[in-house]
Amino acid sequence: MKNTNKEGHSKSYKKLQTKKTLEEILDIAISFEKTARDFYTALIPNVSKNIRYLVEELAEEEQQHFDLFTNLKENSEVKKQLVKKINTPVEDHKFSDFVKLVDLGDNPDDQTILVYALAREDAAMKQYRDLAENAPKGELKDTFSFLAIEEAEHKLELEKKYYEIIHSGGPGM
């Protein structure tokens, strides 16, 4: 399996930049989450059974994002939460930034999967952040900021998991 992270960035960036409404942006974001979810779901049988839980959790988390964005699009009430979220930004801890990204290969180990997922979230976060910076004030900017925060949050959670699995020997220790 080829890692498509890097080259995917500019393409999707342009795609998003042209969108002008919240709904349009969310549609794209939803499609990204769907792609990610499908990617992880497809990966599940390819990894050794002992670490399958990692990929399953990743797929599940992407699904949650998918649901969240879909919900956001359809439900105006939820939009209030969007504003609330923007006011509590999540900081990027940069903990995993120096870990080298390698190809997933046919039979990736847990660390490779985590690093891959982290890189993916990092890219998404940065992309939304850029878009938010370049967007004019208003709903559009807010939406991008929100998405950036969502991705940052996911990255942070993954980093905690990364610390537990790689740096301390396993979860719950």
Partner: protein, 612 residues
């Protein structure tokens, strides 16, 4: 003073002198309780949060006035040494001597200045009092008798453990600590209040109060007997145990509202003392106790001759089963041999533990790597049950840039080489990434080799965690490392291994701003602008470890159930595959005593499986 003459006839009018009292102001005392003095021994109060339920008050009570009562709403926490027992006092027996106050290890129980209690007729129930922070009548009275440093009855301070001076120990792998003398051991043992919190906290539930008592009585053989009831790795645990027991010890509680300075009993060192002072022959004899001579006809294979595997093997062999242990490496002990340096655990001590275990009839096949030399299927076919206890022998890598250079090595691999006797040339300078005990082990081993070979120590430990706060290694490991000339750079995150022309030149790190999130979960946060460079000929990664499960083969991996990366086991160590059990580090994480406990659990379950 006026002398009174015996011949004094006085005057019959003498009493009349007292008529002057009509002119004196009468003394009137109000008929109400007078405030008691500041150190009055009145009714008890008990701080429920400070109280740990150790029941020392009950033991010292000379009138048998204290009953320990179970309070279900208090959460028990064996590892922290908290029981849900609290004292209730029978004021029909109490004599207000305050010995309970003076012995309380945590200063939870105290006395107030309240001293009046009345009740109707036969309402004697009101004499049985369950003191809380508010006292008998829920009235806030000022404190009376509380413990002072003078009145404290407990011996709070440990007997110091002598150790080699840094200069003396830095160029060799001799054991650092001296161990107790008989006198010191007896004194240390005498400090014990026999609360048993240690026993509850110990994963293997070692009968620490019993063997401490035996040591106190000078009966070391009996102490060893107590130890072998629960732990065939008593030499090992006497030296390198994580001593959860000592964290639970009621004498180790320090609290800003309670006792300011108190040290737990050196349970681990006492165990070491007893083991070192009983002959191998006697220990072998003790280990035989309870061994059945009836052969069950069943056979069990154990994969991995570490503490978990061998404990299970020990138990099963004593129960009459034929036990074969497969060990990939040339000697037994697992991580205790190939992970722990000699200066902490001399090999001959470990050898003795192993020898005792094999003496009950455990057979170990060395240099047999399952999956390569013999297949899992074959083992399964030849045995009724199989225990997988292979530990965590794969070191994790940071996978930062340059970490694939051959001068970047993993600590577990290096540690394995040192006792194997490999001729290892230490680098003149090394950086260790990691802040746990493994990092300290390799750093200190490296320092010793450097001193031996180059006469100069140059080891830097770079850890994410902050010293004195989140640092993972034990305090004594840190302080001893520092004494040995090792530099510890805490709160540093590895950025890259700097490679120049294919050669490693050093490690670049960034600052770690914080380590915990607001829920106390590890979540390191980097400041990439704060860069540091540590030149080194070698970078040693000592972060996490994982189990090498390839020996299972694809099919078995697929057949087994897993739990977040580890083989899923039930409470008895049984996996989802009927004939397979798993124990030790690979399922519970690295800890010797946990592995021993696991070994017992698995052995018990297998025994009942085989004899059902």
């Amino acid at each position: 003073m006026k002398k009174i003459d015996y011949r004094d006839k006085g005057s019959i009018l003498n009493p009349l002198k007292n008529l002057q009292f009509f002119a004196r102001k009468p003394i009137t005392e109000k008929l109400e309780p007078r405030p008691a003095s500041a150190s009055y021994r009145g009714f008890h109060i008990n701080d429920m949060d400070l109280c740990i339920g150790c029941s020392s008050c009950q033991k010292i009570c000379d009138n048998a006035a204290i009953t320990m009562v179970e309070v279900p709403s208090i959460k028990e926490d064996a590892a922290k040494g908290i029981r849900n027992l609290r004292p209730a006092i029978d004021y029909g027996r109490c004599c207000w001597c305050a010995l309970c106050v003076d012995i309380c290890p945590t200063s939870a129980i105290e006395m107030t200045r309240e001293y009046v209690h009345t009740c109707d007729g036969d309402d004697t129930d009101s004499y049985f009092v369950f003191p809380s922070e508010n006292g008998i009548h829920d009235l806030k009275f000022a404190k009376g008798w509380t413990k002072t440093e003078d009145s404290d009855l407990l011996d709070r301070i440990r007997r110091p453990m002598g150790e080699m001076k840094p200069e003396a120990r830095i160029n060799n792998f001799d054991e650092v600590v001296d161990g107790f003398t008989m006198e010191m051991a007896v004194e240390e043992a005498s400090r014990c209040v026999d609360c048993g919190l240690c026993e509850d906290a110990c994963p293997a539930h070692m009968h620490a109060p019993n063997y401490i008592r035996s040591i106190y009585e000078g009966n070391l053989e009996q102490a060893v007997e107590w130890m072998y009831e629960t732990n065939p790795f008593s030499h090992v645990c006497g030296r390198v145990c994580t001593h959860i027991c000592e964290d639970a010890c009621s004498l180790g509680r320090v609290d800003e509202n309670g006792v300011k300075n108190s040290q737990p009993i050196a349970i681990r060192w006492l165990k070491r003392f007893a083991m070192d002072n009983v002959s191998k022959a006697t220990i072998k004899h003790i280990a035989q106790k309870g061994k059945t001579h009836i052969k069950s006809g069943k056979s069990v294979a154990v994969i991995g001759a570490g503490p978990a595997g061998l404990t299970a093997a020990f138990d099963l062999a004593k129960k009459g089963h034929r036990v074969t242990v497969y060990e990939a490496l040339p000697k037994a002990g697992g991580m205790t041999r190939y992970g722990i340096p000699n200066y902490r655990l001399p090999e001959d001590r470990l050898d003795q533990d192993i020898e005792v275990i094999t003496s009950v009839g455990v057979k170990i096949n060395y240099n047999v790597r399952v999956g390569t030399d013999i297949s899992m299927q074959q083992i399964h076919q030849e045995n009724d049950a199989v225990i997988l206890a292979i530990g965590l022998h794969n070191g994790r890598s940071t996978r930062i840039s340059g970490s694939d250079n051959k001068a970047v090595v993993k600590a577990v691999d290096l540690l394995r080489m040192i006792p194997q006797g490999d001729k290892f040339i230490a680098p003149k300078s090394a950086v260790v990434i990691g802040g746990g005990n493994v990092a300290m082990d390799i750093a200190r081993s490296m320092a010793r080799l450097q001193m031996k070979q180059h006469n100069k120590v140059n080891v830097v430990v770079s850890a994410l965690e902050a010293l004195g706060n989140s640092f993972l290694a034990d305090d004594e490991e840190v302080s001893e490392s520092l004494e040995e000339g090792i530099t510890i750079l805490d709160s540093r995150g590895p950025k890259q291994c700097v490679i120049s022309k294919g050669r490693l030149t050093g490690l670049e790190t960034v600052n770690v701003l914080s380590i915990f999130d607001n829920k106390g979960r590890f979540s390191p946060k980097y400041d990439n602008s704060d860069l540091q460079y540590h030149p080194a000929e070698m970078v040693i990664e000592a972060i996490g470890q994982s189990a090498d499960i390839t020996l299972l083969g694809k099919d078995l991996i697929e057949e087994l159930d897993w739990d977040r990366g580890r083989i899923k086991i039930n409470d008895n160590g049984s996996t989802s595959v009927e004939w397979l059990w798993s124990a030790g580090d690979m399922v519970k994480g690295p800890d010797v005593i946990n592995a021993v406990a696991d070994g017992h659990r698995v052995a018990n379950d297998i025994d009942s499986y085989l004899t059902r």
